[in-house]
């Protein structure tokens, strides 16, 4: 087991280094003038030249790469051109909001996806199956930014059921201020016993989380269905039937155990996809997470910030995959042999 873990970690580290190199290469295709943007609107030619020096843009490329690599490892991810603060600190400030959103979305996706997948697999080929399959394909075909706008219009403006934007109701900003401990508003409200704030944060989470959950829900439903159908003919299921368990019980007690491995593998995948999908919806919901930061960086051609976010998400994705792999290996020894 230990050998497996060590091997996977080593591989992951190698991949991360490759990721860093790729992002660095992407950086140097830039045709803009980061020095001018950095120096700001009042800069003279001399100030821009000084900015070039400050940003290290006057050194040869390989030197810049090595310096970049070293910097990343030490936590220096560059300075954001539009906020003038370290990129890593900007990311750390923005990340909790996005993580909260993604985790809530994944929870919703699991709650929707798994049962529907099971129902679909129960009677394959029949109406319920076709409808659910169409529905899951619908989910993965949905343009997320459009869904966000439509749902916001419908539920916030027309029906007034849910709030339009923000992480919590601004009325609570002064009456029940949130004490930041972990950076996750929901967690912080629970820790602080700030119940009005908890209610508000949860209510504000609903709409964005549903939007982000569409794709994973569709994907999970399809995977559960496929995996269950694949394994339903296996000997141990036949055995269960022979032992007298009813179909319903088989689905309830055994099928999920069979469906779990690929679903958990898929979780890492949809975690990565959802992290990136938040880039498209956060601006619409005023959600102050990585997505808003990325959108701002794109609009200001803030290359260090764009790369920082890219790196962060890629590393998170690699780590998520690593964790899932190790957990799966811990559960299923056969995997360790691969």
């Amino acid at each position: 087991m230990l050998a497996f873990v060590a091997r996977r970690i080593a591989l992951a580290v190698l991949v991360v280094v490759g990721v860093i190199v790729v992002t660095f290469v992407v950086a140097h295709v830039v045709p803009g003038d980061p020095a001018a943007t950095w120096a700001g609107p009042h800069a003279s030619a001399a100030q821009i030249a000084a900015a070039q020096k400050f940003l290290g843009l006057d050194r040869p490329l390989p030197v810049q790469l090595v310096s970049y690599l070293g910097g990343i490892v030490r936590g220096n991810w560059g300075i954001s051109i539009h906020t003038h603060r370290p990129v890593l600190s900007d990311i750390m400030t923005a990340a909790p909001a996005t993580l909260e959103l993604v985790i809530s979305a994944l929870i919703i996706a699991l709650i929707i996806g798994i049962p529907f997948g099971l129902i679909s697999a129960r009677r394959p080929g029949r109406v319920a199956d076709q409808v659910i399959r169409a529905g899951s394909i619908f989910g993965v075909s949905m343009p997320i930014f459009w869904m966000a706008l439509i749902l916001q219009l419908l539920f916030s403006q027309k029906l007034r059921w849910l709030p339009a934007a923000g992480e919590y109701s601004p009325a609570l900003l002064f009456s029940h201020p949130l004490v930041k401990r972990t950076g996750f508003p929901v967690v912080d409200s629970v820790i602080g016993g700030n119940w009005p704030m908890l209610g508000s944060t949860v209510v504000h989470l609903i709409l964005p989380a549903i939007v982000v959950a569409a794709y994973p829900a569709g994907l999970i439903a399809r995977m559960v269905r496929a995996q269950v159908l694949d394994t339903i003919g296996e000997p141990h299921i036949l055995n269960a039937r022979a032992l007298g368990f009813r179909e319903g019980q088989i689905f309830g007690r055994f099928a999920m155990k069979l469906a779990w491995p690929p679903v958990s593998a898929a979780l890492a995948l949809v975690f990565g996809y959802s992290l990136v999908n938040t880039f498209l919806v956060e601006a619409i919901f005023d959600w102050p997470g990585l997505g808003s930061y990325a959108a701002a960086s794109i609009a200001t051609l803030d290359t260090p910030a764009i790369l920082g976010v890219t790196l962060f998400v890629a590393i998170a994705y690699v780590v998520a995959n690593l964790v899932v792999d190790i957990v799966q290996a811990a559960i299923d020894p056969r995997i360790r042999l691969r």
Binding site: A134, I137, P143, W146, N321
Partner: protein
């Protein structure tokens, strides 16, 4: 699998037309998907005839007619410079799907040779190619495409290149798997022993065997590329005005969304329906052609 096989052995003697029809009936999703895709392609081909105001998909503007709601004259209303949205949505069928085709063509052009080389030759070639694809696969697709598109000057070309740069690893993996599995079979060893060249083996055995999974993967991916392309155009990183790209139309329509909902709604539906159609088609093809599906989502 519990599903009855679509083509039972006895059916093999039935005429092709009947087999096809049975297959389609047994796969309603595939049928619907296929029909929708054909419809979309027809709309793209006949766009100049179908669009009431073809000029509106180009540089024509009508400033006195801005932001009119759906009516008999303009079924989908007009946008912020008075252009007919129906015409622009129709011409949009010539934008994203075409980008998708080009992207996947590039992805195949890179992925097939690399994948076959890796799978067939094995050894260090395989290791190297696999590690490199691992690095690229470590990025969720939209992410790397976004980073690339953000540093290139915004245009459809940059968009296409950015997405292609992200999509090719899947095809390397796919072809590698195919090549490796074929290469490992005993009859291939026999062929080699008989002195048959590697090239012949590739072209006569590996590639033909790969067509089916390749076809399935491509049809599954078209929907994904269309969504990625419209997402990047939405962020301003791809198509520029006046190109009638649906993602761009949603982005431009955002500021007017309340109360002029039609600017965003119709292009968005177009994206949804198109991606849905191709995904249905791909899913149905996968069920039909590749019963032992592999989990490339």
């Amino acid at each position: 699998m519990i599903e009855t096989p679509v083509i039972a052995p006895a059916d093999a003697v039935l005429p092709r037309g009947v087999r096809l029809r049975r297959a389609l009936r047994a796969n309603p999703l595939l049928t619907v998907g296929g029909l929708l895709v054909v419809l979309i392609i027809l709309v793209a081909i006949f766009a100049p005839l179908l669009a009431p105001a073809a000029g509106d998909a180009g540089t024509a503007t009508h400033p006195l007619d801005v932001l009119r709601g759906p009516s008999a004259v303009h079924w989908f209303g007009t946008d912020q410079v008075g252009r007919d949205i129906l015409s622009r949505v129709i011409y949009g069928t010539r934008v994203s799907p075409v980008i998708a085709v080009i992207v996947l063509a590039i992805a195949c052009a890179i992925g097939i040779p690399l994948g076959v080389a890796a799978g067939f030759l094995g050894g260090w070639v395989d290791e190297l190619v696999m590690r490199v694809t691992d690095v690229f696969l470590a990025f969720p697709p939209l992410l790397l495409a976004l980073a690339l598109a953000a540093v290139l000057p915004a245009s459809l070309t940059s968009l296409t290149l950015a997405i292609a740069a992200v999509w090719w690893p899947w095809y390397v993996r796919l072809l590698r798997g195919q090549a490796a599995s074929v290469a490992g079979r005993p009859y291939i060893e026999t062929c080699r022993a008989l002195g048959i060249s590697r090239t012949r083996i590739i072209f006569r055995h590996i590639l033909p065997n790969s067509i089916t999974p390749l076809l399935v993967q491509v049809s599954l991916d078209i929907g994904g590329v269309i969504l990625t392309a419209s997402a990047l155009s939405f962020l301003g990183l791809g198509a520029q005005d006046p190109t009638p790209d649906w993602g761009l139309m949603v982005a431009e329509g955002q500021s007017y969304f309340t109360p002029d909902w039609w600017l965003v709604t119709f292009p968005g539906i177009a994206i949804l329906v198109t991606a849905f159609a191709f995904n249905l088609l791909g899913d149905g093809l996968r069920d039909l052609l590749d019963p032992k599906r592999s989990f490339l989502p």
